[in-house]
Symmetry: D2
């Protein structure tokens, strides 16, 4: 997608800090001084952690400064709000980039490429990396570079396998970092990221897990769901952390099944939920709507 232009261009401010009185007044006074026209404003005061969160979208055309200049000025305001304050200001006119990691299952890739083609994704998909070549044609058909990084076959973790795997992830890191992406999406990638990559891409690596977490962590969640006899199956979009399937949840949804649904039926119906949940989660991430705090997220959707 082309970055936002004209009257659709926004400056998006996000901020998290310890809660106290006067924060909203301080920030809105700052924005008013700039003449900033606020088109979206959301707040959340978390009583549990005593933390305050906000996201504000300002019509770019209403302010005479650049994003850089606003950042410079706002830094002083942020400093007043305490040393723990975390904030960012993004110009929706600056394009964002996404890199996708895939394996053989193509439904999430097809879905995201279709959305990108329809101008629905506020970012450009700059590369697709697959540990198999199955999805190369569809990526290329959409004009997106495809990189094949083979992984050793599953098996006992002998030295050679560990080494090959380490090399493959090093190669992936190299390709991904060359794009400096705003999101690294594990679109049914099926390989567990090593701890150092979880760390390196903190807050940018997004996974879609095919269960309603925390149920059915790990492998073959639809088989687990079938065995337990649940009446709904789900999917979870979350940030990747060092602990498997335990990162901050961005979005979840479910769909109804019944006794007549076999595991393949669940797989098929689950795909629709996976696609929706990942697309929503990724969109919110790219629009700076997701603020992470500890193990949880605030989503100003």
């Amino acid at each position: 997608m082309n970055p936002a232009v004209g009257d659709d261009r926004r400056f998006v401010l996000t901020l998290g800090c310890p809660d106290r009185t006067g924060i909203v007044a301080r920030i809105s006074a700052f924005l008013a001084e700039l003449g900033g026209w606020i088109v979206e404003a959301a707040y959340h005061a978390d009583e549990d952690t005593g933390w305050f969160f906000t996201r504000q979208a300002i019509r770019a055309s209403s302010v005479e400064l650049s994003a850089y200049e606003i950042r410079e000025r706002f830094a002083k305001v942020a400093a007043e709000l305490g040393p723990e304050t975390e904030w960012s200001l993004h110009d929706s006119g600056e394009p964002k980039r996404v890199v996708l990691l895939v394996s053989k299952e193509g439904h999430c890739l097809h879905d995201l490429l279709g959305r990108a083609a329809g101008g629905e994704l506020p970012a450009t998909i700059t590369a697709v990396i697959g540990n198999h070549r199955d999805l190369e044609p569809v990526a290329r058909a959409h004009g997106v570079a495809f990189h094949h990084v083979p992984f050793p076959a599953a098996g006992t973790d002998d030295d050679a396998r560990v080494e090959a795997r380490t090399a493959a992830f090093a190669r992936i890191r190299e390709i991904v970092d060359a794009h400096d992406p705003h999101a690294v999406v594990l679109a049914r990638f099926m390989q567990v990221l090593p701890p150092e990559l979880c760390e390196h891409w903190t807050g940018r690596a997004i996974n879609i897990h095919h269960s309603f977490l925390p149920s059915f962590v790990g492998a073959r969640p639809y088989h687990q769901a079938f065995a337990r006899g649940v009446k709904l199956i789900g999917a979870t979009c979350h940030y990747v952390t060092g602990e498997l399937d335990a990162g901050p949840i961005i979005e979840q949804d479910v769909t109804r099944i019944d006794h007549s649904d076999t595991v393949p039926d669940m797989v098929r119906q689950g795909r629709d939920i996976e696609k929706l949940v990942l697309a929503r989660g990724l969109r919110w991430h790219l629009e700076d709507r997701v603020l992470v705090h500890g193990r949880k997220t605030v989503v100003f959707s």
Copy 2:
């Protein structure tokens, strides 16, 4: 329910005015001057109508003024925002009252009385008025006064019938107004309010219609839905206006049906949606979360 006390007590400010820059700054500066601790804040700028809406909940214990005093001071701020500005400030420590109008179908009444008993409704149900006596026992069992106001049987509108009907509505108006309620709920009342009562209770009369409006306006919506062969049925909670089933919509929801569902099946399943939709809509109304603008609502849920 007892009105909110202690740290749960809130001052709730709602405001709508023509949009321009600086409104949020003006309001939040005002609240900051009072030392007001904002626990909830929501904004909406409607690009279509150029209108700005906000709702702010302030911890009452953080402010040393009474609701009356805050209102006095805020009036000046509101005046600065232009003559069209509409606003209110409610003290959640001041109890609210609800009057219910019912007929023979009891599911919404049972539901609301159960919620009131569980402390879930931020108001007291002070009276139930029925055009039949069927629901008198359950109202009384919950300690709520029941008033029986019989209506003439359906039939040709001869003078006697019109007169009896007019007298019945006059009696209802009298009973309702004696309670000065914050909401008059048509909980499956099945009688169409005359225009003067729609006018008199503007913004306070709430109806639950058993279809997903604007489909199936008027009588027997489940029969209409059955005839059309829809795959979902719904319910709509809306403010009552002079035009039948056309008032501003507060909340809607649907439930799935299929070819095996008869009209009685729809009636039964529809009840669950009616109860939920009415309970949510009424709760939001009582918590000052619903701002009406023209034919539409802003719901800060």
Copy 3:
């Protein structure tokens, strides 16, 4: 509710047996010989376990035999289908009975009593047993006997406490069994049934758990959900077995929450899901729509 009469009266046949060809032909030939008018018929062949399930509802007025006589004749057909065959034939004209176990939280009780009052439950609620007296008034207001069986306060399991608890469950068993109910519903009872009662009421004891199982087993599931930061909360209606919250699931549903919802918000919103899920599960159980097989259910809803 009055039992079904006239043309609404049904004979409901349910059957489970090892799958093979010709079962449907055998059963439908039997019903055709009786002149039975089938108004509902559902089948399920489970490829995983090789088991066949069916439920058939026959208009009672179309058959000249009594339920007793049909049972006698059908026993021969069932025998042909193999020694593992399990079946039942229920006459919807024979009234069913339900006993409810409650504690202090009243929402499920209010809901079920309201449904019973509206003729929506295909059974009579014959008794409510509470370990507290809080819900006695509402039960009595609906004309339902209330039995108070106090439990020892939570604490260390010394001998006296264990003994008091054992005595309380013995008393509950006595009261329940005196009603010979078709369902014993733990309507937010908050006490774990001892193994011998799980065994004694196998297939009749129904619990509502306030999470989307298998997530958040055990105590305080909403607190667990809050801590994990899930985006949907749910409820599960299941048969009680000796393993806590692990019995065959009858029905589940979820509702959306977000970062602004506190634990009390979840508790309030969760109630609506608990009520719906329990009411649906109980209704299906009472209409012989639920067939249990191992840890799972077939629900012909």
Copy 4:
């Protein structure tokens, strides 16, 4: 997709006839005689119209006859059930074909091509016809023939325009009929089929309308929804008939919106519902799960 082979191959029998006792017995006796292993069986007796419907899926490997031979034999059974009986027997091993009509909006096309690529659609997409060339590349990238049939620009219906339009539809008919498809899908085609094509493709032409019908018939339904202030938007998959947006409904679904959603937001979120509803409806149609009766459908999903 390759047609079903081996143990996944099914004979699917669908039948509708006036209801009376013994139909199930007659059909299941017929299938038992063939040694047919029934893997799915569904029935519906419509009390409103006195009509009986069934769908049965038989494991092809369990029967020694061809679909042709079964049809020949079953014709006698069908004749016994009366002259109004309508039935079909499909062999899932015989491939099905789909032709898609599109305009500029690509989301439904992307979605269906992605599903076909994943082997999820029980048919082959044999051609895409567009009145614009925008979607030609994606069709070709999936190896599907694209036919461009331009239409006259919108405007006053002078003779030349009418003639050009008639010619365009004649060309479309020619292309479509050359493929003899089991479904002609209007995947956001935006042109109203002329009556003779509605007639010609009766029971095969499937449309996706971007509203929850019967609300918001005709043009710009999201604009209509925005103006009315509804809280949910939806989509409807239905058979095309001569009356605009009034054909038998196959599937519908909705998604929640709120006051902050503009028309473009609705368009974006609505796409996800359109894709899901069309994919489900088309799949059910292709699997012979949809039986049309008058203005309504029976869907054995």
